[in-house]
């Protein structure tokens, strides 16, 4: 199968490979896929809690070239977006941008799932933090 030039570009020069510490309350982590299916995608966002804007995003992917390209592209698109804007990213946009063939559509689905999972994780962490903070103040007083 021939790859599109955009897939090749992301494969050869992946953007934003790496990891943030999951201990950081402003980091949301999404881990989707399974090794036995041949794709695992870890996508992380770093959110500014004041503005709600995704300031940075990183990924690590075990999978084919299209899975790597889909995750790399997702991190590019996430940077500078609000949570709501990020939630609006659709896998079909990734398919279109990377010119993925039908057999590789699942790679883009996985990237969309990872975005949603990372946001959910961030929101859960923020909610847990807010739930625990007032209590600390009570204890302090």
């Amino acid at each position: 199968m021939a790859y599109s030039s955009k897939v090749l570009d992301h494969y050869n020069n992946p953007r934003n490979v790496g990891s943030f510490s999951t201990a950081d309350p402003n980091v949301g982590t999404g881990l989707v896929g399974a090794p036995e299916c041949g794709d695992v995608l870890k996508l992380q966002i770093l959110v500014n809690p004041e503005t709600g804007i995704i300031e940075d995003a990183k990924f690590k992917t075990f999978g084919c070239g299209s899975a790597i390209a889909s995750s790399s592209l997702a991190t590019e698109w996430l940077r500078g977006k609000t949570i709501d804007e990020a939630l609006a990213i659709k896998n079909t946009e990734i398919v279109e941008e990377l010119a993925l063939p039908p057999v590789k559509v699942h790679c883009s689905v996985l990237a969309e799932d990872a975005i949603k999972a990372a946001i959910k994780n961030y929101q859960e962490k923020q909610a847990a933090r807010q739930a625990s903070q007032p209590q600390e103040e009570v204890v302090g007083a």
């Binding site: 490979v17 299916c37 084919c64």
Partner: protein, 406 residues
């Protein structure tokens, strides 16, 4: 010396036609173009003589006599003819066939069709190296068994089966023995007499001959094997395979067998040395790499390695100047990882991570060294990008993780 890229290292898929083979074939396209079945003029006689010489060359490489060779379009046809031809001819004698789970689809699928047509087929499991044992065959044989079909060498993992021992079991029990020897002929010694083989499939393009021509060896005595043909027509090839003989291809096939037979000892030793250089070069520089198949009982030119935490298709993209193949689902139309690797008990995650390197006559040591470097670079690059590698490094047992399978 500068390397010519890309490098072909997929010789279990097909091989380059040897220039000596092409040269032998050429006159049969333009000058000696007669039909081998034309009995009444010089063009026909010339073609027939060439076919008979090639038939003897093909027979010789497997220790058969020329009369026992039936030319076909390739090994898929040979396997179909052997399985369906025997099943149909011996149906009154019994309806049971024995084969193995790691066979090529050209054996598995005809067997499945025979199952639909009322035959019973036993698909024997293999051990973790991919071998079928003669005791398994002996235990599976029933009074209804008419045929055992076990491959000589596996196309994906290169594992050699104990054909001689399996042949002996079949002989003792009076059951016909067919072997798909496509990968083995010309690479390791095969002798139908010594190994008790009654039917054997082979093809030209795996041994530096042209595509589109193969043969089925059909034993003529002790016992005389009979087949119902699949193709009806002019009664060529002793009535077993009608159709005008592809004279140029047959001439090339014969020449390829002749070269392979003469050069096999030297070539096998050279390929084994190159393969071990490749294996050691890769495995000494990369941790968590695993050989698929048998460590020693394998084709000299084949090595199949799984690279943990790296997906096979992505790895092939990373070594884009090298033509290899992978057991990863992403490289197959079915989106399932290799059924052969699964049959060995290789986990799906490692099946997705496998690469088959097939060395052949035209590979050089410089190419092997280049491939080692490319593979090490690509695997290192992809592991840095792999969440699985990161998790394993930080001490997480990947088997304990609850994955959301999709």
């Amino acid at each position: 010396m500068t390397l010519k890229l890309p490098i072909y290292m997929d010789n279990n898929a097909t091989t380059r036609c040897d220039p000596r083979v092409v040269e032998a074939m050429l006159p049969y396209f333009t000058e000696k173009y007669g039909n081998a079945a034309s009995r009444n003029h010089a063009f026909g006689w010339e073609a027939e003589a060439a076919v008979e010489e090639a038939r003897a060359q093909v027979a010789s490489i497997i220790g058969a006599s020329a009369k026992e060779i039936v030319f076909t379009s390739g090994a898929t046809e040979s396997n179909n003819l052997a399985l369906k031809g025997v099943a149909s001819m011996y149906r009154k004698k019994g309806n049971h066939i024995i084969t193995a789970v790691t066979e090529h689809k050209a054996v598995i699928d005809p067997c499945k069709r025979l199952e639909r047509d009322g035959f019973q087929v036993t698909f024997l499991p293999v051990d973790r190296f991919g071998q079928v044992h003669p005791e398994q065959v002996a235990e599976a044989i029933t009074p209804q068994t008419i045929l055992v079909s076990i491959m000589a060498a596996n196309n994906e993992i290169g594992t050699l089966n104990p054909i001689r021992e399996i042949g002996r079991v079949c002989k003792e029990k009076g059951v016909l023995f067919h072997t798909d020897a496509v990968q083995a002929v010309g690479k390791v010694p095969i002798d139908v007499q010594e190994m008790g083989i009654d039917l054997l499939s082979l093809t030209a393009h795996k041994l530096y001959g042209p595509k589109g021509i193969g043969a089925l060896y059909v034993r003529k005595k002790d016992p005389r094997v009979r087949l119902d043909p699949i193709l009806d027509g002019g009664g060529h090839e002793r009535g077993m395979r009608s159709g005008t003989l592809a004279v140029p291809l047959i001439v090339g096939f014969g020449k390829a067998c002749d070269i392979a037979q003469r050069e096999m000892p030297e070539e096998a030793a050279r390929l084994l040395q190159l393969r071990e250089r490749l294996r050691e070069g890769i495995m000494s520089r990369l941790e968590e790499t695993y050989i698929n198949g048998h460590p020693t009982e394998r084709l000299p030119g084949n090595i199949n390695i799984s690279f943990a935490y790296v997906e096979g298709e992505a790895l092939m993209m990373g070594i884009k100047d090298v033509a290899v193949s992978s057991g990863s689902a992403c490289t197959s139309a079915s989106l399932e990882p290799s059924y052969v690797l699964r049959a060995l008990g290789v986990g799906d995650e490692l099946a997705h991570s496998s690469i088959r390197f097939g060395l052949g006559r035209f590979n050089t040591q410089e190419e092997v060294d280049f491939v080692i470097d490319q593979v090490v670079k690509a695997v290192t690059h992809l592991r840095e990008m792999s969440p699985l590698y990161e998790m394993a490094r930080s001490g997480i047992d990947l088997k304990s993780v609850q994955w959301a399978a999709h």
